[in-house]
């Protein structure tokens, strides 16, 4: 066969593969928006669930997720950032560095439900935190750690070597150089990674199943040792565990969760884009 015809056919198939994904993603988002939007009212967002979750709103789940995400980031950002600084600025090309990188890859690959088991064994049972915001946040924090390390490290490493050399040659110490030269230039990248981590933590269900999520708890938490409802778990519950929930309510909950996660991703993409435009090197 004519090689140019083969090429045409092959390229068409490759194009179709892309189109397929794009269309399906578009359809998924469109369906959720279209069917979920009518459910979104001020009351839906600010009321507690009523009548066995068949009516009322999703406030406790929304607030619970925000608490969990905040807790996760408070734990994961400092450790992740310092770990990234170590890998980018201090680590030599040694066996230890190789091991750390391998550990990060593995941490990123551990199934989310295994994080749930780990959180249950360590925080809930061993440390006796019980099923609580604290246990859930720590579990989610460890889960997003590799994401934050990888993103921060890339951001730090993209700062040109010459910046460091100039600073060091002026008599600044290594830490002063990092603090005043490297970090400020890497902030957009670090921010992007952090926000993506937030989005990931907000959407995960399996790690919070046994560490914090409450089936039905129509009140706001009083302390970090309380259980809370969480948006992804709430969606799971009303779609599979509670019969006869209004379809509108399910789609509405899915939409709020999707909007929360996607808006975080959007912010991250915008920051990255702006930074790329402004980049001076």
């Amino acid at each position: 066969m004519n090689p140019y015809r083969t090429q045409k056919i092959a390229f068409s198939f490759l194009f179709l593969a892309n189109l397929l994904i794009l269309v399906l993603v578009g359809v998924i988002v469109a369906v959720i928006v279209q069917k979920g939007l009518p459910a979104i009212t001020w009351q839906f967002l600010t009321d507690v669930p009523r009548q066995g979750m068949r009516a009322g709103g999703i406030l406790p789940a929304l607030v619970g997720t925000l608490y969990l995400v905040a807790g996760a980031i408070v734990f994961a950002l400092p450790i992740g950032l310092f770990a990234a600084i170590y890998l980018s600025e201090y680590a030599k090309d040694s066996l230890l560095t190789r091991l750390i990188k391998l550990a990060i890859v593995n941490l990123a690959g551990v199934p989310s439900v295994v994080y749930g088991l780990f959180g249950l064994a360590l925080f809930v049972v061993f440390f006796k935190f019980g099923a609580s915001i604290l246990s859930g946040s720590l579990t989610l924090g460890i889960m997003i750690l590799p994401l934050i390390i990888t993103a921060s490290r890339e951001a730090l490493e993209s700062v040109p070597q010459s910046f460091r050399e100039v600073s060091l040659s002026l008599g600044a110490s290594k830490w002063q150089t990092i603090q005043h030269i490297v970090l400020p230039n890497a902030i957009p990248g670090i921010l992007t990674g952090t926000i993506l981590g937030l989005g990931r933590a907000a959407g995960e269900t399996a790690p919070i199943l046994f560490t914090v999520a409450a089936f039905y708890l129509p009140q706001l938490p009083g302390s970090i040792f309380d259980q809370v409802m969480a948006l992804p778990y709430h969606l799971y519950v009303i779609s599979t565990q509670v019969p006869n929930v209004d379809e509108k309510t399910r789609y509405g909950t899915a939409l709020v969760l999707l909007a929360l996660v996607l808006s975080m991703n959007l912010v991250a993409i915008v920051i990255r884009y702006k930074f790329r435009m402004k980049k001076k090197w």
Partner: protein, 291 residues
């Protein structure tokens, strides 16, 4: 003054090192706690009977704790997802890396990123309300909650991983390879098919492995759409239950310290070992490429 500064530098350096070691610490900690809780099950069931036992009745008396149906459930769903996602995923990667014009490339990458960002519980929900009824009517089944539904949904979750890593692999091939092929009169497609895919093969293999790793570990979507029947699967269009879904569905009812609880942790060990193996092997492939 100078000593103060030296001390500060020293303290910070050690602190930074400590955080650097945190990843290793957590991986080891996860494994140890899985072992601590999971190993207890082997006091009552021998490891062989646990892995290859054909019945999973954790709450009967005495409990029967054989996870073969669950392993096969995971395998069949994963195999289905792999068959769907590998050709489409690698195809997308080739198109994005080689063929698409700049503008379209940005749109496609954003779309893939969007797909990666959708929480699995949302995909599970969408699968439940759209895909499951569809599978039911197309195959005339009593229920659409089948391995096939799970495979289709999981294929989508594997796609972003496969596409982005395979695309990186294609990018990192030296330009001269392609130019050489084109200079000898090959068409663009011939250059891609005969030269670039081969040069990037280890990276693409790593992409596929990591994609499949993601599928094996996926929990929520699978639990919502595969029907959760802990029996040895005989067909693609029958309900199955995976390793991950078993943990997620049953841990809530298992009493802490019971045999059931230990057994669920032992399943966690199996999952951890699988993901460890997949990630280490994929990492080796990626490293090979870089050299």
């Amino acid at each position: 003054m100078t000593t103060m500064r030296a001390v500060k530098e020293f303290v910070i350096e050690k602190l930074v090192l400590l955080c650097g070691l945190a990843s290793i610490f957590f991986v080891v900690l996860i494994f140890l706690f899985l072992l601590k809780e999971g190993f207890a099950v082997f006091k009552t069931v021998n490891p062989f009977a646990f892995l290859f036992g054909k019945s999973w009745y954790p709450i009967s008396d005495p409990p029967q704790l054989g996870i073969l149906p669950l392993i096969l459930g995971s395998l069949i769903v994963t195999a289905g997802a792999a068959i769907i996602s590998i050709p489409i995923g690698v195809g997308c990667a080739i198109y994005i890396a080689e063929i698409a014009p700049r503008r379209i490339k940005e749109v496609l990458k954003a779309g893939i990123e969007l797909l990666a960002a959708i929480p699995s519980v949302v995909l599970g929900f969408i699968g439940m309300v759209t895909l499951v009824p569809l599978v039911k009517t197309v195959f005339h089944l009593p229920t659409g909650l089948t391995a096939l539904s799970g495979s289709i949904m999981l294929a989508f979750m594997a796609m972003p991983t496969i596409v982005s890593i395979a695309e990186d692999a294609l990018y990192s091939i030296p330009k001269t390879y392609k130019e050489g092929a084109l200079a000898m009169g090959a068409t663009h497609w011939q250059a891609i098919w005969r030269v670039m895919l081969r040069a990037a093969s280890s990276g693409i293999l790593a992409a596929i492995m990591l994609g499949i790793g993601r599928v094996i570990g996926e929990t929520m979507a699978v639990m919502m759409i595969t029907g959760n029947a802990a029996v040895i699967p005989h067909s693609f269009v029958a309900p199955v239950r995976t390793l991950t879904a078993t943990i997620a569905a049953e841990m809530g009812e298992a009493v802490v310290g019971s045999e059931h609880y230990f057994a669920l942790f032992a399943i966690g060990i199996v999952l951890f070992v699988i993901s460890f193996g997949v990630n280490v092997t994929a990492d080796l492939f990626l490293h090979k490429r870089q050299q």
